[in-house]
């Protein structure tokens, strides 16, 4: 029996797909699963597991309430689940102008400001940043003009909470809660230093929510606290940081980083 052309083409397509599925979808990956069992590769193929996790996967060094445990180096903020959850990997996906808090969630700017202030307090340094209030929220005004976008200023509201400056353009700043229609959102730079003491990676979530590294600068910032909490010299902590700092690959790929889990495990070993 001869099949019509259109049908025989679909039969060929199905047969081709099945043949290729066996080859590319089963034989190829399963061969490498088998190769992954070989000594030398099995550790990596299995997930680089060590006594307390995986060296490739970051984890939180906080107590059950989410507060930092002071004797450990702290990881970056994480947007994966409740933090460093490999079953719910995610970035924050909030944009560069996400500056107004709403009832549902804090803006990215306020998150950055709050983290910076908390870290400043924990490490005993200045946690101030540009566009942040002393209260640790985004310093953002909503400015109303007589003619919409132009004309004299008629009213000014601090959208993320209590007024953080007395007047703007001669108009008294009111405290507020969120944006109301009609104004122009205006972030206020303030007089914080352009290079804040708390490093940038410490106040931002990474891409995976599982970032295993922190910058050497953030590790340095934490070193005095670690030394104090553990009753060891700051110099020995510095030496450990240096030991676990991985430089750029081949000198030009990526950025230097410190693996936080390895560093903390080395500290626990003493």
């Amino acid at each position: 029996m001869r099949l019509p052309m259109w049908l025989s083409q679909h039969v060929a397509a199905l047969r081709a797909l099945l043949v290729l599925t066996v080859l590319l979808g089963l034989a190829y990956p399963l061969a490498f699963v088998a190769i992954g069992k070989l000594p030398g590769l099995s550790g990596k193929a299995g997930g680089s597991l060590v006594a307390h996790g995986s060296t490739l996967i970051g984890q939180a060094f906080t107590d059950s309430d989410g507060n930092p445990i002071p004797k450990y180096f702290q990881s970056r903020p994480s947007a994966a689940g409740k933090g460093y959850d490999p079953t719910a990997t995610s970035a924050s996906n909030l944009g560069p102008e996400d500056v107004v808090d709403t009832a549902d969630r804090k803006s990215l700017l306020t998150q950055v400001c709050a983290r910076s202030q908390a870290i400043g307090k924990l490490e005993g340094v200045d946690g101030s940043r540009p566009y942040c209030t002393a209260g640790g929220v985004g310093a953002v005004l909503e400015v109303f003009h007589r003619d919409g976008l132009t004309g004299p200023v008629t009213r000014v509201i601090s959208v993320n909470g209590p007024a953080f400056m007395p007047t703007y353009d001669g108009v008294t700043v009111e405290s507020g809660t969120g944006e109301i229609p009609g104004g122009v959102i205006t972030p206020i730079r303030g007089d914080a230093p352009a290079h804040p003491v708390v490093p940038s990676d410490a106040v931002t979530a990474g891409a995976s929510g599982l970032d295993p590294d922190i910058s050497p600068a953030y590790a340095e910032l934490q070193a005095p606290r670690i030394a104090r909490e553990r009753g060891i010299s700051e110099k020995s902590v510095q030496e450990l940081i240096e030991k676990y700092t991985v430089g750029r690959a081949l000198g030009f790929m990526g950025e230097p980083g410190v693996n936080v889990l390895e560093l903390n495990m080395a500290l626990d070993k003493g």
Partner: protein
């Protein structure tokens, strides 16, 4: 400085492999001998490897194979809970299964689902990853068929789809992936069938370390410009991209086939210089885009980046800002859509660049195959524009660009913008834009990005937007389907029409298509066409955000 060196070494590596790898691709595709394994496959499939196909038969073979693939993958996703290695995940819901099946068959690899909480290992490797291979091969096959149309002298046929599919898969993609998988495993990517391991963290909490056949899937994900991640966070996940040098390698892999295909084009039409002209256009556009993206991200404009001190939200420490930005540009200049950082949190203008890259039609260098055929269509349009200027009948590689050819080329160009802009408008008209995470111009950018990505079969996203609703899954599925197969049918029709022509000898009036003048014109036509089409949409989204 290190960031620029990262880009420069990528350029050097791509230049170094252009001839040898391009020549290898050419021999793999155009040889007359069948390997024993290939003969076995032809017998199992039941096709005659010597039978030449007209453009119509070739197109119907592509469509039949793709239709069967979508159906098969859809059913596979729907019954995964009844098969092995499902890890206890339930059947994928209808609308997500439809969206995902279309997404992987069209080489888009848009992901409306989160890998680690939706897909079992079997469906990942035997369903999704198989399409990673064959959808890439389909793209290359169609590009090769178009080039055969240019090279042919009065024939009705364009080759045999089944032979092209088999050879590209067996001679190019699979051997390369075997090598890459091994390197990736040495770098630390996981490759197992484990459902995961519960570990006790240093502070006594429990963490579930996931498993899976990741390395083998990662290899073809990059090489085939697919981009569908094993995990939700794609190439940002330490198991998919553990080090700074795997990051370099992944970028290289997703660029290497699209940048080498112009060599195949040059060899097949018998003039290598024509290949150099095409690759020059790709390189000019790509280098400009990468430089702008890296520049914008290093500059770090915008309120939050200024407060932070650098644009590092959504970027991993081990990659850093410039390398992440390079990845973002490369993944959208091709049709890959893998990400190692999250574009949604980029600076306004840095985040606009990936959108612009896709709007270029993904031709610099574009997806595997789709980049070459896209740019050749733009070259045809350029020849036509040049012909209008001097009042001569345009011709390209000895083939007259007549009314029929121009109609097909124009239709080809119009398909994607129509889908992108109509889709974006439809989302706003129906209120489905409200699933965007961000508000204001950035919310519009999220919607525009989604349809641009689907229409151009890219697959990356401004990922804050929620797209696993029935409306979004259906709409984006349709856009991906039409955005892939309408252009393919038009390209094959163009190929058939060119193949029938007898080549005309070069005359004094012929525009030389291998010289810098032509290279500049094609790049110019590409940018102007895109700017005219999309500037209003960009002005409402990223430009409004960046300039306010």
């Amino acid at each position: 400085m290190a960031g620029w060196l990262f880009v420069i070494t990528l350029v050097i590596a791509l230049v170094a492999v252009y001839r040898p790898f391009g020549d290898y691709l050419y021999r793999a595709i155009s040889g007359n001998r069948d390997l024993r394994g290939e003969r076995l496959i032809y017998r199992l499939v039941g096709v005659d490897a010597r039978a030449e196909q007209t453009w119509g038969v070739y197109a119907r073979s592509v469509l039949a194979f793709s239709a069967i693939s979508i159906l098969f993958l859809y059913l596979f996703l729907r019954v995964q809970d009844k098969l092995w290695l499902s890890l206890g995940f339930s059947a994928v819901p209808t609308h997500i299964a439809w969206n995902t099946a279309v997404s992987f068959v069209t080489n888009t690899n848009w992901q409306a689902y989160s890998g680690e909480s939706t897909m079992g290992h079997l469906v990942q490797m035997a369903g999704l990853a198989v399409q990673n291979f064959v959808s890439a091969a389909v793209g290359i096959a169609v590009a090769v068929a178009l080039v055969r149309g240019f090279a042919a002298r009065r024939t009705a046929t364009l080759g045999n789809f089944w032979v092209d599919l088999t050879r590209i898969t067996l001679r190019v993609l699979l051997p390369a992936c075997v090598l890459i998988t091994l390197v990736f495993m040495i770098a630390g990517m996981v490759q197992n069938l484990s459902g995961g391991t519960d570990v006790t963290t240093l502070t006594g909490a429990t963490q579930h370390i996931t498993g899976g056949p990741v390395a083998s899937q990662e290899a073809i994900k990059e090489l085939g410009t697919n981009g569908g991640g094993f995990y939700n966070v794609n190439s940002a996940h330490p198991f998919e991209n553990p080090t700074a040098w795997t990051n370099w390698l992944e970028i290289f892999l997703l660029l290497v086939i699209p940048f080498s295909l112009p060599r195949v084009f040059g060899r097949m039409v018998g003039q290598n210089r024509q290949g150099y002209a095409i690759v020059a256009v790709m390189a000019i556009l790509a280098i400009a885009s990468v430089a702008l993206t890296v520049g914008f991200e290093l500059h770090g404009a915008g309120t939050v980046p200024q407060a932070v001190g650098a644009a590092v939200e959504g970027k991993e420490v081990r990659f850093g800002v410039p390398d992440s930005a390079t990845f973002a540009a490369a993944t959208t200049l091709t049709s890959t859509g893998a990400v190692d950082s999250f574009h949604d949190s980029y600076t306004a203008l840095g985040g606009m660049m990936p959108i612009v890259d896709m709007m270029l039609g993904e031709v610099a260098p574009g997806g595997t195959g789709s980049g070459l055929y896209g740019l050749l269509v733009l070259a045809v349009i350029t020849v036509f524009v040049a012909g209008l200027m001097v009042g001569r009948t345009p011709e390209y590689l000895g083939k007259k660009i007549g009314a029929r050819e121009m109609k097909l080329a124009s239709l080809y160009f119009l398909v994607t913008p129509t889908l992108v802009l109509a889709g974006t408008a439809a989302a706003f008209a129906t209120g489905n834009n409200r699933t965007a995470l961000n508000v204001g111009p950035h919310g519009l950018s999220e919607v525009l990005y989604a349809f641009t990505s689907a229409g151009n079969n890219n697959g990356s996203a401004f990922a804050g937007i929620t797209v696993n609703t029935p409306w979004w899954d259906t709409a984006l599925g349709l856009v991906m389907l039409l955005g892939r197969f309408l252009p393919i049918v038009l390209v094959l029709a163009l190929a058939g029409s060119l193949a029938r022509q007898r080549p005309v000898p070069e005359s004094e009036g012929t525009l030389p298509t291998h010289q810098p003048l032509f290279v500049g014109m094609v790049a110019g036509v590409t940018v102007v066409l895109v700017a005219l089409t999309f500037l209003p949409a960009l002005a409402l989204g990223p430009l409004a955000e960046g300039l306010s």
